[in-house]
Symmetry: C2
């Protein structure tokens, strides 16, 4: 019998308890042992829950109970999740989390602590909700020379962008709809400003490169600047707009970005709609593989958490990542980032555009001048826009192309 404790009895914590109860047969067959949820830590009481008698309010009971084998931290936020994780690992308990914030901030430290103490720290649910992503990258793909891992890592923003495309709605209306449907928080900043996605791409990048890039070193743009006009322009040339997290590496330096990108319909990520998430890994000789599924929700997230528990019960292995080291020094200057761009401006003439950007592909647009540039470095694109604004032009929008 494995005794476990769940920290946080919210949506995910409730989902984990439910999965372990409802799928008892599958879980025991796979893990090879019975699982007993001995404690659930929460500030609240849950008198009507079947787990009412397990709910406690003092974390010390868990950490000092030698019967507790594994702690499942599904509280979210950096603190006290950080302190709880450290003390659990030091007490020789495995820790599983769905908390991307704490992994992005302290994952390197936790991995080292887990190794020191001969236990596991696993976090499959922190990226892509229920989608198996981290484990298959480590177990099935790392023999490739991986050049990029990228993904649609936030369901809220993908839902908003999908609405804007299918209905021609504005960003504001689509956000309001997402809030009404419960897909977006009342304070949606972590989603729409790209902060949530930046944590997830930091984690994905760390698995691929071994370097955990501090999120403040990640060039992060949200989707608040994406206009209905940009959606129309994209549709005219057969492109979609997706908020992507991208970690590009040449084996030495790393470029990590979160920003809206325009994608052609040939790109597998372009077909990922609504609240779904997907992660694509590009490498040699595998070319490209993609993992797709529900990026959030009680059930899928619980599936990933319990999947980690199954792996620990079966094999005791951690991710077999050599360790990840926090490293911002390997991050390439964003001015070197190279791509094509969609640009929408007013007050510019074709000759000026040609002087600044060279040959471009125009897209018919009402009252503004919209075009796709050739591939150029970020610094060059910025300089070209500055040259045009110096001549009286006004930038309405710029979105990079994948």
């Amino acid at each position: 019998m494995r005794n476990i404790a769940i920290l946080g009895f919210g949506v995910v914590g409730g989902g984990v308890a439910e999965l372990i109860t409802k799928n008892k047969r599958e879980v025991e067959a796979l893990g090879g042992d019975e699982i007993y949820i001995k404690y659930i830590l929460d500030l609240r009481d849950f008198p009507d829950s079947p787990f009412a008698d397990r709910v406690i309010h003092d974390y010390n009971i868990i950490v000092s109970d030698p019967e507790i084998d594994t702690v499942i931290e599904v509280m979210g936020g950096s603190h006290p999740a950080y302190e709880f994780t450290v003390s659990a690992l030091k007490a020789g308990k495995n820790v599983i989390t769905s908390n991307k914030e704490v992994v992005a901030n302290f994952g390197d430290e936790f991995m080292a602590l887990a190794e020191e103490n001969g236990v596991c720290y696993r976090f499959e649910a922190a990226v892509g909700g229920g989608i198996p992503v981290l484990s298959p990258i480590i177990s099935c793909i790392k023999q490739n020379k991986i050049s990029e891992v990228r993904g649609i890592l936030n369901g809220t923003t993908n839902y908003i962008l999908t609405k804007m495309f299918s209905l021609g709605d504005t960003f504001e209306d689509s956000l309001a709809d997402a809030q009404a449907k419960g897909y977006a928080e009342r304070n949606p900043d972590a989603d729409i400003l790209g902060i949530d996605a930046s944590r997830k791409i930091a984690i994905l990048g760390a698995l691929v490169t071994g370097k955990l890039v501090p999120t403040e070193k990640i060039h992060t743009e949200g989707i608040t600047g994406v206009r209905a006009e940009d959606v129309k322009a994209a549709e005219k040339v057969g492109l979609k707009i997706k908020l992507l997290g991208r970690c590009i590496t040449d084996g030495e330096s790393i470029s990590v970005t979160v920003a809206p990108f325009m994608l052609s319909s040939d790109e597998p990520l372009s077909n990922v709609s609504g609240v779904y998430n997907a992660v694509e890994v590009v490498g040699e000789p595998i070319k490209s593989v993609m993992f797709y599924g529900p990026g959030a929700g009680a059930g899928p997230t619980a599936s990933a958490v319990v999947g980690d528990l199954m792996e620990i019960m079966r094999s005791g292995r951690s991710y077999a990542v050599p360790t990840m080291v926090k490293d911002g020094s390997c991050v390439r200057d964003f001015g070197d980032f190279e791509c094509r761009s969609y640009v929408a401006m007013t007050g510019v003439c074709p000759e000026c555009v040609k002087d600044a950007f060279g040959e471009v592909q125009y897209i018919a647009a009402d009252g503004e001048c919209a075009f796709l540039t050739s591939s150029m470095k970020e610094a060059e694109a910025e300089a070209a826009i500055s040259a045009l604004t110096a001549k009286g032009g006004a930038l309405k929008s710029r979105i990079r192309l994948l």
Copy 2:
């Protein structure tokens, strides 16, 4: 140092040797040891290959060499792959294969032999080429109550169907194009008749249910009956046609099918185009996840084979499948298979159609009567068609809906 032997120096065998050589750094970091390809078994010689000195023609040298740790069988076909695998496992060597035919036919026996001899038998590359599928199902998804695993498991037929949709071409023209491009064999039967897909769904089903269904018990239809007219009709109602392998289970009985299905554009599998493959797993509470990527080719297939080698080197674990048992008795009668259907007939009147099928949804079609039925059992659909043909109707096509 790990000494390995490769059986078969064709496309995949060459890819494996190339990956191990080119990605030496990644492979050694991940596997924790150097890999030496000591033997390559083939009927031919390869005097110009960098591995010319390792090529041998006598399998006994490999099986009797105690230094050989792992045998990579990438010959294809049932024999002598079967005999070579059995003797390698009995000699205490791990075996990795990309050979779906031998796994579908004898996987149960190999798994049992591997367990008896304390070695691993792994076959990630046998389904979905380079796409991680089998390993994530076992490691990340099996705690769910899986109700179905389904997929686009054959790139050749998906290429042909994609061509028929994008260009309105006939099956014959699209097949000829696939052959000209090297995607289809000169004798394309194994692909276009669904035989290749039936082997892969047998393997996927065995991982999910523990029961390896003999392929002769799988209801298998190819794509030779899909007409340009059916493609047109599907497009009119926003559906695509894909050759799907489907294994549906209620935990007890199993329904396994390979056939063309019509899919709505909401289905993640509907967007999988060209030679790509994808596998979708449906369960509770995960809902649905999909794995997507190149289903064939030297590089991707080699990636999956070497991924298995990495897992063996790191952990020595087999798939942790309790064992799979060959079992045809659990297969549900195909007459009980329930779905909607697209039907195209001539010589029928609306009243007769209503008498036979109840209310249907008509699709405008030149010179024939095309419609979508409501959901009914296979036996009922067959009976309805028989009733119509008895009255002088002629069946032109029937394709089930997902």
